[in-house]
């Protein structure tokens, strides 16, 4: 096994261990257990547990960034809806739920670690750019009223991220749906010109968008 594939395997194992145990109970043993290898091998490929976690952060954001490369093939309104629905994922999707649960724990460590913060800022930049692109495209296409795309993007992201976190931590399944319609009515409704309407939930998916773009979704 090459070093590259070994490191990949460890990253995947870290992902699985994180989903299974959560960050707080993420031990090197738990990571190794997701592998057919021994615990000490982790330290052959990485210098320390911290090093593993840090690399895992990189690993995550790489994958995340890839996902955001959005398509130009569908209309800005649909792309906006897809992005919103990607955020407000189906609460019954246990895999995504446990991933975001772990991510939340991970993010909760960022205030103690400048490197984490830098990662998250980079990721935030990518996310904002994705929203602003859509909003600007919509302005140009005349489907959005005049507004400040940066400001709208900021509010949207805050609301969607906040909603996701509140849903996870309160375990209130109805919550995401409420936020979805809230965002549609309170934020998006004012954005759309006469005649345009925001698609129903799930009508467009980011995966569909990816597919349209010929991308290889997760």
């Amino acid at each position: 096994m090459t070093d590259e594939s070994a490191r990949d395997e460890i990253m995947t194992a870290t992902y699985e261990a994180l989903c299974e145990h959560g960050y707080t109970e993420l031990t090197t043993q738990a990571i190794a257990d997701q592998t057919d290898k021994s615990k000490s091998l982790l330290f052959y490929h990485y210098d320390s547990k911290d090093d593993i976690i840090s690399a895992f952060f990189d690993f995550l954001l790489e994958h995340f960034d890839e996902r955001l490369a959005a398509s130009q093939e569908v209309s800005p309104v649909e792309r906006l809806a897809a992005l919103v629905d990607w955020f407000l994922y189906d609460p019954d999707d246990d895999e995504r739920a446990s991933f975001h649960t772990a991510m939340l724990e991970l993010r909760a460590q960022a205030p103690y670690d400048e490197r984490f913060q830098a990662h998250l800022r980079r990721s935030d930049d990518a996310l904002r750019a994705a929203f602003e692109d859509i909003l600007r495209d919509g302005l140009e296409a005349g489907v959005f009223r005049d507004h400040d795309p940066a400001e709208t993007a900021t509010v949207l992201i805050a609301a969607l991220d906040g909603a996701r976190i509140r849903q996870l931590t309160m375990g209130r399944d109805a919550y995401l749906e409420e936020v979805r319609s809230g965002v549609a009515n309170v934020v998006v409704a004012d954005l759309l010109v006469e005649g345009e309407s925001f698609p129903e939930r799930g009508a467009v998916s980011l995966e569909a968008v990816d597919a349209a773009a010929g991308d290889d979704p997760e």
Copy 2:
């Protein structure tokens, strides 16, 4: 020392230890160190560390709920502004920052513990009610346009909470200010009737509101 006051002291010590060390490094020793008592005594008053943390959650939300009892003395617009600014606190306020940092870690544990979730739901109910009260009062008073207060409250809370978390985890001080004006322009602006305007940041504080209401703020 009565059992009651001993438990109170432990809760306060837990609060302090949490702010100082964060949840991940919160040890029973760290809690005891905030006390003039010994570590073993913690286990006389509580069954386990988990028990302490669980009780601390109760303790927190009790105090939090008290804080939200809002005044009728000032105008709905001002009360709304106060609540918004309470959320988007001054990033230089280190005490609040370290408290919210610890709270974020604590909340990140909720997905693993139904009891935490129940607490957070209760707290969410109180918070929504506070927002909805203000919005409804504003409707009655004719300062807000017609809208669905529940929906607006949901979006507002999600955005404000999301903003707070993103600011903490990205360490981007400018962020809260951006969200504040974003919320003002994107959400609140559409709410206000002609002639009303949203106060500048810091023009009204929740403490002032509390004081007006004769409350004892934290």
Copy 3:
């Protein structure tokens, strides 16, 4: 058990473990095994293994210093002989041999640790002073020819220490006896005035000296 007596017990256990395993294989487990307590208790009384070893150094030198307080009751020549014989101990005395073996390992670490060096310097000062006192007393009493006590002490100590180490590391039992007579003939013979003679090996012991002084020997 008081903290004091616990620490004492750990020091004794360290001594025993050191003699049994040597410094290189001195583990916290080995120390704990010389105790009826658990390994983790070591870390309750000391911060780290290094801390234990450092304290053990202090402990040793304290005991060593006590031993050196020599008597005025016997003649300088006899005191000198006693000190020489204390150095060139009976090679069959397994306990002393294993102690000095461990001490040698410990001393071999000193070049890497300034604190050890300081300890050894302090101990060297005490040892030199003990030799010089005897030599000066002998000069005053007219049993030693004129000489430089500091110089003689330096050479004597180097030779005795070197001999002890060479004996230990070569496992040559005859060695100490050779050095004893070598020192007697080469160094001490030139020191004695006509009529004085250096006692045979073992004729005077440091313990006897201690006893004469009413001291409590080890």
Copy 4:
């Protein structure tokens, strides 16, 4: 690469690793790092780490023995001075210091290993012979008074070795100089016949002696 040259390379690497890390922190990795080969190869050429160290002992003493083959070209007094100064090397010579530091650690292991002891005995024999040769040559040449060369050699070696060790372990730079003059005045002075004098420190070096003998010093 022949087995012979590979083993030589490993011995040299062991020497370098030992000087750099000391015996206690001498790992197989550290040895391999001084090589352009891998760690596993060590185990192809040697059975175990212990085996490497044991072979290294052989290696050292071989080289050491070569060094001692002294010249007949210079006077016995000068040869004695050269040997003394070789022992009491310049404390600022970091390379020799770190070598002797490592050697001290190595020697401290000898009590646990009969093979080491045998090596050291052999080396002691060679060293004694070197001193005795010089002393006997001096007797014959009439520059030394009548004395027992074996006894004098024993004391000299013990004193010089002890001095070197004490200097290393106490970190007292002045020490070697004190011992040098002590040995000159206390031991050597009584050896010289009227009219002979012991050279100043550094006046003759073993390297010069080696060179005169056509040897290739280390």
